[in-house]
Amino acid sequence: MADDRAVEEPRQPAAEGVALSEPPKGGALSQAWLVLVMATFFGAALAGVEHKLGPVIAMNKLNETILQVPSLVPGAVETTPDMESAHGKNVFRALDENGRLVGWVVQGRGQGFADRIEVLIGLDASVATITGLFVLDQKETPGLGDNITTRAFRDRFAGIGTDVTLVAQNTTTNREAGVIQALSGATISSSAVCTIVNQTVNEVKEPLAEAARAASVVRGDR
């Protein structure tokens, strides 16, 4: 409280200075009633807009992910509409036409060169290999870093085992497992994607493999 007063006191003369040049008519309420009324009115209007459009926007985001599932996991045709979560990551089940679990699609995110990068990682049911990659959101340098969204770059991830750590390298000769050929002029963006994939896969590997075993046991009983 004492601190509050210490801050408040020096402002007093300044307020008087303003008052001298232009004497206020009436109290604080008569000055600010318009602002208060407008704020209330606008707040209500925005709440209405959000109430009406919020679900549509959330649906747009979800649709974008669901649309990608078949291209990320081979054999998948649909996904369960509800997402699950493992270690705080959003996870979608990829199902084939018989409703059997053929893989997973996991949302991963992390810092890129310019801003946060959000990716979808396709994994097979037992989480042994990466089956695909899609970049949901990125703001990397146009013409260089934003090439991480291209097929040519994303396809470099498909088929790699989840037991190796991915590294991006400026190489055309190194064919070791886990070496991703970096985009020329965008090594940092390429490395960022590798790091995001590594982290996400490591975090969801155990719980998802467990869930896949559980699912297959259930099917086996039937």
């Binding site: 303003v18 232009e22 000055q31 600010a32 318009l34 602002v35 407008m38 704020a39 606008f42 209007a45 925005l46 807009v49 959000e50 459009l53 919020g54 549509v56 926007i57 747009n60 985001k61 974008e64 959101d137 703001k139 340098t141 146009p142 013409g143």
Partner: protein, 215 residues
Amino acid sequence: MAMNGPTATERFVNGILPENPVYRQLLGLCPTLAVTAAMKPALTMAGAVLFVLVCANVLVSLIRGLLKPHLRILVFTLTIATFVTIADRLLAAYLYSMSKALGPYVPLIIVNCIIISRCEICSSKQGVVTAIADAFGVAFGYALALLSIATVREILGRGTWLDIPVMPLTQGDYGWSVMILSPGAFLVMGLLLGLWNWVEKRRARGRLGASAPGA
């Protein structure tokens, strides 16, 4: 002063060319540079600005009698912020891909000086009809600037115009990537601004020559 501003027609015409917000007043340059890499985001941005500008101008003009001088900027910002948020949500709901492409630049319309300057200059002093004419004029002027820059950048950078291939040679590997990057934005805007000034100068000289043949 209060009622004797320019007429609605004058406001409308002035906003488009003689007081073009980008080429004559150099306002709102950040979004101008950022969203003009292609026609579609530029069009969306121009549309969002038109919506916000018309709504803000109408509302401010309606309540202009109630404004307290020292609280007016607060009221302007509040009004603009509300309509920008509505525009942003509408885009995210019905033009999701465009909303993603424009990123933070739609919310940033709140701090776009073009709109607050129209509130200050026109709608807080003149009637609703004039304010609407002013909003349309200035928004069309802004759209003209955005689309002219975007035309050059998209055709040279991607070989397309509104995503329609127009120059088979500059597509793919043949595009001028620099035009899509930020240096291209600065270069094209600078060169178009130079061209604009040059044309204006010539026109001014022509008027001078016509009125005073001796000069």
